[in-house]
């Protein structure tokens, strides 16, 4: 955009595997366009050149797991005109939120020789639990095309086309045969938000719920069907919900219910 100041982009990392910010570098065909449309001001994974804030758009990856990070996110929010959290860690606490169901101090005692040096929070939490977030982009990892869509929407001042309905709609539009109905394969697609393009079902696998709960999910009804008709145990149902989005509210509630049923009392 000649003559116009390009909006400044910052990409931040918290507790995460870096996969989501890599998705941005993965945008091979669109990467030059992204660099043309945005001034990449802070993106340590891509460049050592760092510009000071404030930033027009901050993409935040990772969850909050340390007291230091719980402080740092507030400074980032102050420095950002718009803040978009990206990926399951930033939007739901990530796989590391499995600690939320146990006592994290027990883990540090087992894993580290000198656990007294480990400063960590009891729970892994999403960015939105700490600061106001303008948009949450789901996925483990996020889908490249959705990231481009969200950035395009930001640049053009419009609402992103990121549906919150089920993975089933993507399966059906693509003509993917339902793995649960036709093969008896357990699948979380009916309670999971679309976005991946029905990746696993199109390879005859059940959905692992990488994009977290869909809008108004009815997880107990799916669990009941899995148990009564597909022969799933409470433990299997529990484990299927304790993955990348384990601490997403609806998944957490349902998995705790099955934990109690698995170990009554």
């Amino acid at each position: 955009m000649p003559g116009k100041r390009r909006p400044k982009l910052a990409v931040w990392k918290f507790a995460s595997c870096d996969g989501c910010q890599l998705s941005l570098l993965d945008c091979e065909d669109e990467l030059l366009d992204v660099a043309g449309a945005l001034d990449i001001a802070y993106f340590p994974e891509a460049t050592r050149s760092v510009q000071p804030g404030p930033y027009d758009l901050s993409l935040v990856e990772g969850s909050i797991t340390t007291p230091h990070d719980a402080e740092r996110i507030h400074q980032i929010r102050r420095d950002s005109r718009q803040l978009i959290s990206i990926g399951a860690c930033a939007t739901a606490g990530g796989i590391q939120a499995l600690r939320n169901f146990k006592d994290v101090r027990e883990f540090t005692r087992i894993v580290y020789a000198s656990p007294q040096y480990i400063e960590t929070l009891r729970r892994s939490t999403p960015i939105a639990e700490h600061v106001r977030v303008d948009f949450e982009l789901r996925g483990c990892p996020i889908a490249k095309h959705q990231l481009i869509e969200v950035i395009s929407a930001f640049l053009n001042g419009r609402k992103p086309n990121v549906p919150t309905y089920s993975v089933c709609q993507e399966c059906k539009r693509q003509g993917v045969v339902c793995v649960m109905v036709a093969h008896g394969t357990p699948c979380l697609g009916p309670v999971t938000q679309a976005g991946c393009g029905a990746l696993c079902p199109s390879y005859h696998r059940g959905c692992y719920a990488c994009f977290g709960p869909k809008e108004t999910p009815n997880i107990p009804a799916l669990s009941q069907w899995r148990r009564e008709r597909l022969g799933a145990s409470d433990l299997e149902i529990l484990r299927s919900l304790r993955t990348f989005n384990a601490a997403a509210a609806e998944f957490e509630r349902e998995s705790i219910r099955h934990e109690h049923q698995n170990h009554p009392g």
Partner: protein, 406 residues
């Protein structure tokens, strides 16, 4: 091209609805028949086995049909099984319907580009070709007739649908064996075709005999059939065919009671039954995606990063999403109760006010492909049961599903 006229044709006896005698061809001649269509420039689309299901796709010969396969269906379950014979059409309907060919699941409508101060709009041309649909079931013919009415029947015609629906040859197949989820007989939409086809066949397998009784439904169908060696159908053939179709009717275990259906649903807008079905419903939208008559779509506008290019797309949508009823202030149908009620009431009641017929053809797809096996015939029976003095049979079925986890 044959199109559903909406009126019932004469029952098929010796004389077909197009006023021509029915013919008989040996199974080997199916290949010739399809070849004639190919030579006439038709792309053949028919049922074929993929991913342990029978889907509709391009085929090049009868060998690609699901020969010797059948589908065992129930609420929330579908399995392919081997048959003991080599039937070409020994199954019913799968997860897909023909609507995907005329009302594509995702479709770009136009592109807009900005060049300085100039704005250029480029509509996407509708890619048409001559297509022959092989093996369309009676219920599916009714569904096509309903979608024809929806998309092209009123003052506002869907141009894309109309163009895609042109140059379509329909080879229909009468049903000999229903799936456990079928209920066309109760709706008079099967198991025998009445109109809306070019050719209609009934597969006859008896001992060593394997033939097709063929009915002509259009002038084009007659010309295609003329190119294939055939013999005239006898009274015995007609009797055999009647028995095949009647057997399908007898074996149909589900039914949707049509009498006073609209009034029933309008009376039961506040029935507690909606809460019970909402407790089971996943609002995943599978029922609407597999339904051969559901026609809702959404349009989305997308820009690229530069903002110099934009496009508008049309996608299959569903009344089970929050976005579907989103207006200023939020979704009108925020609860699953409201969404299921809206779907069923539209399908069976308001559809009648809108289009003069009910929106259900009894194919049973919404029952089979619901991941938790919700059955609309059971829901309607339950609504009726609640109204009857003794609670009716629906109340008994309700108890079965009222079980909740402790």
């Amino acid at each position: 091209m044959a199109k559903g006229s909406g009126k019932k044709g004469s029952a098929m006896r010796g004389i077909g609805p197009f006023g021509r005698p029915s013919r008989v061809i040996p199974k080997e001649s199916l290949r010739n028949l399809l070849e004639v269509l190919r030579l006439r420039g038709y792309t053949l689309i028919g049922p074929t086995v993929r991913d342990q299901a029978i889907v509709y796709d391009e085929i090049s010969s009868p060998q690609e049909l699901p020969i010797g396969w059948t589908d065992r269906q129930g609420p929330g379950t579908y399995r392919l099984e081997r048959r003991e014979d080599d039937a070409f059409f020994g199954f019913v309907v799968g997860p897909q319907s023909w609507k995907k060919f005329f009302f594509p699941p995702a479709q770009r409508l136009f592109q807009i580009s900005r060049d300085g101060k100039e704005i250029h709009t480029t509509p996407d041309p509708v890619q048409t070709r001559k297509r022959a649909l092989i093996g369309v079931r009676p219920c599916e013919l009714r569904a096509l007739a309903i979608q024809d009415r929806v998309f092209t029947g009123g003052a506002y015609v869907d141009g894309s649908y109309r163009r895609l629906r042109e140059d379509v040859f329909i080879l229909a197949v009468n049903c000999g064996e229903p799936a456990a989820t079928c209920f066309c007989a109760s709706l008079d939409t099967g198991p025998q075709v009445t109109d809306g086809f070019d050719l209609a066949i009934t597969e006859v397998i008896e001992g060593t005999r394997h033939e097709f009784i063929v009915h002509v439904g259009s002038e084009l169908g007659a010309r295609v059939l003329e190119a294939v060696p055939s013999r005239e159908a006898t009274d015995a053939d007609s009797a055999t065919e009647r028995e095949i179709v009647q057997r399908a009717t007898r074996r149909m275990s589900r039914a949707l009671e049509r009498s006073q259906l609209k009034e029933l649903l309008y009376r039961n807008y506040e029935s507690p039954r909606w809460d019970q079905v909402a407790a089971r419903c996943l609002s995943c939208a599978n029922c609407t995606m597999v339904c051969p008559t559901c026609f809702c779509s959404t349009v989305e506008d997308v820009t690229d990063l530069s903002g110099d290019h934009a496009e508008r797309r049309r996608l299959w949508d569903s009344c089970f999403t929050m976005d579907f009823s989103y207006i200023v202030g939020g979704s009108v149908r925020a609860s699953t109760r409201a969404r299921y009620r809206h779907w069923l009431t539209h399908k069976l009641a308001t559809w009648q006010d809108q289009f003069g017929v009910i929106g259900c053809v009894g194919c049973g797809r919404c029952i089979t492909w619901c991941p938790v096996g919700i059955d609309l015939t059971e829901e309607v029976a339950a609504l009726r049961g609640r109204e009857s003095p003794d609670g009716g049979s629906g109340a008994i079925q309700e108890n079965h599903h009222d079980r909740t986890e402790s």
